[in-house]
Symmetry: C2
Subunit: 606 residues, 2 copies
């Protein structure tokens, strides 16, 4: 069993750990300390050793921050985590605030006193984030003081888990589809084209992509923590903990890549004196900017030069994604069959559902890991967007309610992420109506054609309009990028209300996951992954249009569809999708599942 159901923190973490942090703050002469969720590598998912926010507060969400002052403290979370934070954090100790509206900056302005010294660790903040904080501190007349080591790490001390040392292994060309040398040349040419001599690459996903390697330092992702300097000529220096270097790695990297240790990095940065060096100000911490600036390099702020080429999957990666999704779809379909048959008579609890699904995936023989801990949300737990079942919160699915299962897997040939919502017993008419509105949004975003230059934010509303027309909406983005045997959340593209200037490009994989959440009652989400197709001429049209091909293949619960709310185009689209599911998944599953599928994938009557 990969997934566990314990809780790594509890609300006593704050009362136990904050006094230790305050003592270390006092020793350093600080009136406060900033605790971001991000770690040295600006990852979304953290190794346990770097989850400082969880250790200080008890909060385990994937985004947030805290400010610990001598005599008060506040924690900042976004709309996804307003319920969870109250459950995990001691509110006598921490004031709960909104991360987005105002956030830490507003707190610095309003809750600190002139002349106070607030410490921060420059390794933990991107320069972009730091500049906003510094502006707020300046307004408040507060000093933001860099500290190293920081008081939290000092307080954590011996109790802190060790840094991860998962082996870094080659990612074969059969999956990667392009030699590292070719990628380095391509990205290097791009650097030269914008007048840069080199780039500092720190995002683990970019390290993995650029050198065709995979690791395991970050939970649920094959990400290797490391740093690299890529030169415009395509040569590179790669800094990895020697414990992680597998015997085959040096030869795999070739002689254009110098393998070094993280201890060599500061010296390597000083050797960039006089060079023009590109660094991503959102992905790389302020420490790199200070080190390069101090060394006399000219720092160019720009996007991680690997982010866009990594996001645009090549033909081998797309073919891998198709295979991974066919395999994963069969595992998920076996699970949905179980839910629709045996489990209807005696509904499972969430943990049982998670175990069953993991077992089906394990039986594929190809599972490297889950791509994230499965969210199984029964009834009201389904309305908590970032819910994760634990022994304490575990709930049994009730007849007449819904079970939401959001899950994914890591296979060598691809990463999956899929959500299905299933009726347990007989759903109410309200559930069916709202499920169908969510489905209409999913279908609209799956069938849209669009010209070059279109961003995800231009398409987001298509997934919401059916809900909006009925006075409903959901408080999360509609789609995120997904890696190829890499992170399940990957930029730079996304489909959301937030304005974006990143155009969708062929080969980008994005999720399509509208939802609806009735607090205290149930949650609905339908999520497929889809990739952007090449621009193609449409008969009778004038301009080539891109579109999406859906990768995820698993039945959508027909018992939750109110066909009277679908128009002819939508019915035909859903029927065609179910036809593909039957065709691809059917041959992979046992006869009883296949027999059930025939019904589960049958055409929708108007």
């Amino acid at each position: 069993m990969r997934q566990t159901f314990d809780e790594s923190t509890d609300p006593s973490f704050g009362p136990k750990h904050v006094p230790l942090i305050r003592q270390a703050m006092a020793e350093q002469g600080l009136d406060g300390f900033l605790v971001p969720h991000e770690d040295e590598h600006q990852n979304e998912y953290l190794p346990a050793a770097n989850d400082r926010l969880a250790w200080a507060t008890g909060f385990t969400g994937s985004a947030g921050a805290a400010v610990i002052m001598k005599d008060k403290a506040a924690i900042f979370v976004d709309g996804r985590y307003t319920l969870q934070v109250r459950d995990q954090v001691d509110q006598n100790l921490f004031e709960i605030r909104d991360l987005v509206e105002g956030g830490v900056s507003a707190y610095l302005e309003s809750a600190t006193g002139r002349g106070q010294a607030i410490g921060y660790d420059p390794r933990l903040h991107s320069p972009d984030a730091l500049e906003r904080l510094k502006a707020a501190a300046a307004k408040a007349g507060v000093e933001l003081r860099p500290v190293s080591p920081n008081p939290l790490d000092k307080a954590w001390g011996q109790a802190r888990p060790p840094q991860p040392t998962a082996p870094v292994v080659p990612h074969p060309l059969d999956y990667a589809g392009e030699e590292s040398a070719s990628k380095r040349q391509r990205v290097g040419d791009g650097l030269a084209g914008r007048g840069a001599d080199a780039a500092v690459i720190t995002a683990p996903a970019s390290i993995a992509w650029l050198f065709n390697v995979r690791g395991g330092d970050v939970i649920r992702s094959p990400l290797p923590i490391g740093q690299a300097i890529l030169n415009a000529d395509g040569s590179a220096r790669l800094f990895l903990d020697p414990q992680k270097v597998t015997p085959e790695l040096p030869a795999w990297l070739g002689n254009q890549v110098r393998l070094e240790t993280p201890e060599d990095l500061p010296q390597a940065l000083t050797e960039l004196r006089g060079k023009r060096v590109l660094v991503d100000a959102a992905q790389s911490s302020a420490w790199y900017f200070e080190a390069l600036g101090g060394a006399g390099a000219e720092v160019l702020r720009g996007d991680d030069p690997c982010a866009l080429p990594r996001a645009c999957k090549n033909a081998v990666e797309i073919e891998g994604a198709r295979k991974a999704h066919a395999r994963d779809g069969a595992a998920l379909t076996r699970f949905l069959h179980w839910l629709a048959t045996d489990a209807q008579a005696s509904p499972p609890d969430e943990i049982e559902a998670v175990r069953r699904l993991e077992a089906f995936r394990e039986e594929t023989g190809a599972l490297k890991d889950l791509s994230f801990d499965t969210i199984a949300g029964a009834a009201s737990n389904g309305a908590i967007v970032h819910y994760r079942p634990t022994e304490r919160l575990n709930k049994r699915a009730e007849k007449g309610s819904l079970l939401l299962i959001d899950s994914g897997a890591q296979y060598l040939d691809g990463t999956t992420d899929v959500t299905r919502t299933v009726a347990i017993g007989e759903p109410t008419q309200e559930m069916r109506e709202r499920f169908t509105l969510v489905l209409k949004g999913n279908l609209a975003l799956a069938r849209v054609r669009f010209p070059a230059g279109t961003t995800g934010s231009a398409l987001d509303a298509l997934a919401r309009v059916a809900l909006w027309q009925h006075g409903l909406d959901y408080d999360h983005g509609t789609g995120h990028g997904v890696g190829s045997y890499l992170g399940v959340h990957e930029g730079p593209q996304r489909i959301s209300k937030a304005p974006s200037t990143v155009a969708l490009r062929p080969g980008m994989i994005v999720s399509n996951e509208p939802g609806y959440y009735k607090e205290g009652a149930y949650g609905i989400r339908i999520e497929n992954l889809q990739f952007v197709t090449e621009p193609e001429n449409i008969p009778g049209g004038e301009r080539p249009m891109m579109g999406f091909e859906t990768l995820t293949l698993a039945p959508i619960d027909r018992r939750l569809i109110d066909a009277s709310l679908l128009n002819e185009e939508e019915r035909a689209q859903l029927d065609a999708y179910h036809g593909r599911v039957l065709e691809v998944v059917g041959p992979q599953v046992p006869a009883d599942v296949r027999a059930w599928m025939a019904e589960a994938c049958a055409a929708i009557a108007p």
Copy 2:
């Protein structure tokens, strides 16, 4: 007759005027000079005296720029004007370049030589635009040198028309709906809230709105050119050419507003020493920033504080807009009746169509002006998005083709802007299909409901999806803001592909104008104005939703609709719209027009 059909420029303008400009450049020691389209007031539409780009090049479009070097020259226009520029500008003299892709900055980088001095007039560039130009000049090793007076104005000399001096008159409360004192207090409070002591207001539409006055300095808009300093306490200094001050104006402005002359402005700016002064870096020229900075004021860059309150029309303005559109719809419907009856037998030319329409509007007795020169585009001229008929270009509508008419009017109670496309003779099936796809987009954007915070860029795709699915698109925005007896193009909201952070708010008027253009053949556009309605609960829903109410009332040509492409919801929506047209416009028009309307507004058969 208000509209004229002559051409104010011709391609000889460049050959005649550029040598004069070059001579003045040489006298000032310049190797080049930047000619923006914008004038001292950063207006879209210019008084003839300030249309420097037209005088230098012959190009009369509403956006563009030129760079005149000693030995070469280039003109920059966007996608709307690629045909027009070739018609108006001598290409032996001017290289034609894209204003958006690269633009003037790229030209400075590639086409100038190190050490050259390029002059610019700081009164003609916003600081935002100037910073981009300066960055490009720095890369190219070129000096951007401020010059005053600039060599173009010197060359123009006595031939330059005088500055406009239209009288500035009170705009009564029956139309404005809010006292100037109340507006000044409201905007002043906003200034105080962000720590500003004052704002410098230079946009003529903001001057008009803030002081409840109207003028006539800019063609087709009742805009008064002037400047104001608004203090956080609601008091103000207003700088107007004394020739424009009507006798009733001082009393109308009241004793909180000091009326002064433009000559007093520089001194008034120096009196802001030590104050925090808000200036809009996109609306106000760099000259203001330099003057305030030089005077020792602290300049805060921010949006024109009048822009957002001006855009959100109050109840009186909305009621005025309804009346203006009912009146204007009657005039337009009389015109459409003529086009559908008499004009079918013997199709008119474009100028005749424009004259007829203007005559119907004049007969309302309320017409203050057109809101822009009517675009009547017959057949292939309809495919030129910013076409304006002239004696030289005038074309007769052909049987079996389309006539596109985009027009609008200025009334005291509101500004209108409407486009209808009408079949002359029997349209082809292709025309009907494409018209119906455009109509589907217009209907989708008219019926959408959306939550607070939604921007126009999030809704833009709704108007395009039907076209996109058929491999078609249009190369202009879908909607622009419209003033209340003010400019027909007004920010800050817009509906376009370009990312926007300005949320739509109740009372904002926007156009809804998808189109399709077949170069060399015909153009289709359907444009209605609509305003954002207050958030309202939807039965069975949970969140209040805003929406749109359509203001424009005139039949949409049913002969161009392929009903088989509309779904039931779209047919019902169109029928309901035509029902409103019949109800509101019907009683205002003669009996024969009313009889025709019954048919033109009849329900669409499936």
